[in-house]
């Protein structure tokens, strides 16, 4: 019966692909040509795989059916993603998205971004994020009318580098990243051996193992993306982290004890950002101001670092990651925030934070005018009745 189900359901999915292809082939602005090609390529691939699955001769269902169900589930998920991410973005093209696409092109040029520029859509229902396989950067619906979170775009631009570490032009970055990763694995391996020698509790060994897995699966990439943000947009990136932590974050010292977490502790991330700002020479006073503001926030909320926090995010490892990230990002020719070249977007985002702190209450009026300069087509669209 399950094979009969697969047969019918595969045919229905093939019909869905046919209809989705029709949507992608409609008329859209040329900024979306790349995204349309990606979607069509994925639809073609999924169609071939569904056809292969439909044509497979069943000889031994006990061996074949479990594998066929797994493959079917993976293909359905791929199809859902193409429809719900790529084609959804194409199908909701509007003036604000088009204006933001031009801004991303400008940012990519300013920093000498080494990959294809992503397409941008205001379709995020949460916060900034990127679908690397679609080259699609997503922002909340009206986020580009405000400036203080915008430095997070630079962080998101870094994630696709991690999906392309085998590219020759990213080799210095890949080397720095992998060396940091294995440095961290070796560190926790030594910690585990030491805990074992001291006949430490099993719980500590489990935690060390858990932290190593978190670093390998998620955190190292997140730290490198943060440090890429600091290197490319400067102090505005660390301010954006401060802004986000106050608005949406929890205890910045949270350290996993029983379950994996995808994001490292916010305080550890801030330590890495400050370490990078100071290593850049030229941002010392900004780093001091950010650190003062951060400490005041932590004290006001009575957050405290635990012993586990210090074991999970050791100073020496954070400093080593900072040095490696700088070497890797410099090595692929990214234009750093310290460069003397003029960078309209980067300068504007840093200016936004200076203006905010000079007169927080007056900031919204200044911000509205500045957004109008940065994203003129969107400003015009907003003024239309």
């Amino acid at each position: 019966m399950i094979e009969d189900y697969l047969s019918g359901s595969i045919r229905q999915s093939i019909e869905r692909i046919r209809q989705l292809r029709g949507i992608v082939q409609s008329r859209f602005p040329r900024e979306y040509d790349g995204l349309r090609q990606i979607c069509l390529g994925k639809l073609d691939h999924i169609l071939v795989e569904f056809n292969n699955l439909a044509a497979e001769r069943i000889v031994d269902p006990t061996l074949q059916t479990p594998r066929r169900i797994r493959i079917f589930k993976r293909l359905v998920e791929q199809l859902n993603t193409v429809e719900g991410v790529g084609i959804f973005a194409i199908n909701r093209v509007n003036v604000a998205d088009t204006a933001l696409n031009r801004l991303i092109t400008e940012i990519s040029t300013e920093i000498n971004y080494p990959l294809i520029n992503p397409v941008v859509s205001h379709m995020s229902q949460d916060y900034f994020h990127i679908y690397s396989e679609f080259h699609l950067l997503c922002l909340p619906l009206i986020e580009s009318r405000f400036l203080l979170h915008m430095p997070d775009i630079y962080h998101e631009l870094c994630h696709p580098l991690h999906r392309n570490l085998d590219l020759p032009n990213l080799e210095p970055y890949a080397r720095a990243f992998k060396s940091s990763l294995f440095g961290m694995v070796a560190h926790f391996h030594r910690e585990a051996l030491a805990a074992d020698r001291l006949r430490n509790q099993e719980a500590r060994l489990f935690q060390i193992q858990l932290w190593r897995t978190c670093w390998a699966k998620y955190w190292m990439e997140e730290f490198f993306c943060d440090l890429f943000g600091v290197l490319t947009v400067g102090p505005a990136y660390a301010w954006a982290h401060y802004h986000l932590c106050i608005k949406r974050g929890g205890d910045p010292f949270t350290t996993p004890l029983t379950r994996e977490t995808s994001h490292p502790a916010d305080d550890a991330r801030m330590r890495a950002m400050l370490s990078m700002l100071r290593s850049l020479r030229g941002f010392d006073s900004e780093a001091d101001s950010i650190e003062r503001a951060w400490r005041e926030f932590v004290a006001a909320m009575a957050y405290r670092a635990t012993a586990e926090y210090h074991l999970c995010y050791p100073d020496a490892q954070i400093d080593a990651i900072t040095r490696a990230a700088k070497e890797g990002v410099d090595g692929i020719g990214i234009v750093a925030a310290t460069s003397r070249t003029k960078a309209r977007v980067r300068d504007s985002l840093n200016e936004a934070w200076r203006v905010f702190w000079n007169a927080p209450a007056d900031f919204p009026a200044w911000e509205g005018a500045e957004v109008g300069k940065l994203l003129p087509p969107m400003a015009e669209a907003l003024e239309r009745p």
């Binding site: 061996l63 074949q64 594998r67 993976r74 390998a216």
Partner: protein, 122 residues
């Protein structure tokens, strides 16, 4: 602070390894007495390298596979290097097929969990 950028990367890795293991399972079924295919050799080497989290070979792929195969208590379901050695040595026996099926089921659970988190169900 959104998890999506990281999770889409993890999902791609899970899918990649799950597809590799299913290919080896299918090859073992249809080529019972044949020599190991290239995917079997690749998977065998990955499992051997995953034994020390990819440290000796500096294999990022092996480190990622090790991380993805660990269960909630941080343990790997099987002796990965031993299975890897047998895959590298050639023909796959029925017990190896069962072990590959266990790895495939584990990755399917991980895939389904990450997919749920990506859709906001996690």
């Amino acid at each position: 602070m959104s998890d999506l950028s990281l999770l889409t990367g993890i999902y791609a890795n899970v899918e990649h390894f799950a597809s590799l293991i299913d290919t080896v399972i299918e090859h073992a079924r249809t080529h019972v007495s044949a020599t190991a295919g290239s995917e079997q050799m690749r998977l065998g080497q990955l499992l051997v390298d995953a034994g020390d989290q990819g440290q000796a070979s500096e294999s990022y792929e092996a480190l990622m596979l090790d991380s993805l195969l660990r269960n909630a208590t941080g343990e790997t379901p099987l002796n990965l290097p031993e299975l890897g050695q047998r895959l590298l040595a050639g023909t796959i026996g029925p017990s190896d097929q069962r072990q590959l099926e266990i790895l495939a089921q584990g990755l399917e659970r991980e895939r389904s969990e990450v997919a749920g988190r990506l859709r906001g169900r996690g």
